[in-house]
Assembly symmetry: C2
Amino acid sequence: MHRPTAGRPESRGERKERTRRAILDAALELSGETSLVALSLRQVAKEVGIVPTAFYRHFDSIEALGVALVDESFVSLRAMLRDIRRGDPAFSDVVDRSITILVEHVHRQRSHFLFIARERAAGPPAVRDAIHHEIELCERELATDLARLPATDPWSAEDLRILSNLIVMAMVATAEAIMTAPPRPDAEKAIIETARAQLRMVLIGALNWQSRT
Amino acid sequence: MHRPTAGRPESRGERKERTRRAILDAALELSGETSLVALSLRQVAKEVGIVPTAFYRHFDSIEALGVALVDESFVSLRAMLRDIRRGDPAFSDVVDRSITILVEHVHRQRSHFLFIARERAAGPPAVRDAIHHEIELCERELATDLARLPATDPWSAEDLRILSNLIVMAMVATAEAIMTAPPRPDAEKAIIETARAQLRMVLIGALNWQSRT
DNA sequence: TGTACATCAGTGAACGCGCGTTCACTGATGTAC
DNA sequence: TGTACATCAGTGAACGCGCGTTCACTGATGTAC
């Protein structure tokens, strides 16, 4: 463990927190190679620069560490949702703005988004459940946002849920596509254009479908 | 290794093929617990009833085995697409029929669909790439099917691609939801109803969006 | 048909290695007086 | 302020275990003559 570069000595609590952070960062990076279920406590300890047994001072197991990483990753994701929600939800450019913000956040917090995409399907059970629960909360948040739009006044709660679910799954798929894509800017541009067209299709479909109920 | 229960002795080739099958089946089942990247050659050998070194008579590595499992899983998935494609693509009930067939196949070949959903995001690189390639082929197949519908006569290839991509991602998400859901029939029914509504939204949106281009 | 040889799926011992977890410990930080 | 004691993040040795891979092998099946 390194000492801080300057000045005032750390308190015991500060030092502990710093090690905890280093463990979370190391696990996020190392699990990116494969998956949490293939990550060993000893790899993490080695990367952090502590002895394997010191790991237990911070987490009971890799699975528990994984749950902590879910919490942390969804802080990033919620920050994105907040950005999207901010500003006028005028129908005309809401799609373009939302996708732009999505792309920005996926780049800025790439490892968090990769973590969610990966462990959502293949993580340890507790991690999978935690992620599904968080995604469900995001869907509900989106549903309440949609409910505020004048166009959705006559919609039932069920309709809002169905549309939210569809939009969220499209956004998850788009985020995955961006992260998987080759780093050439034209590849990303194509994905963004596709996502925009798809989101427009979905919204127009929802409005037309709704109006004939 | 067990001998066959009856009659004529196996040829060397038949026996080898039988062991290969047993390895594929064991790997599919065992990887279901976590993921291919956490599956060991020795676990597979033990489950099959051969000595670990005999594994190398059939595959170079777990990763190579994984690629073979991708091929096999997509045979199941293509069988589903063939079922969906068969029969009249009359617009009125194509959605309900397609989702019904999807659900049937997900139940019948549950382990293949689980494998694809899991390893798509978290498998070894060669496996991930193989899966993405296969999904892309499915999208193109769907695009050519859609192109045959009279309603899509004025559509560009790009439009067809965008719509196919959206439909496929919705189907993947629905399959995942079915497999993740608790085995209560009402939970599954809710997922099916949601998927139907979403697919209708998408189709109506596509038609309306297209008509104003 | 019988014989001699080739093939090769599966065996079994052995290797060095990284794994999670236990345990008793150290020594700096924190606290009570 | 100084002293005596408590706390606890991190240490280091040790354990038994499963790992992938090597190697020389066995013995049934297949083939050439």
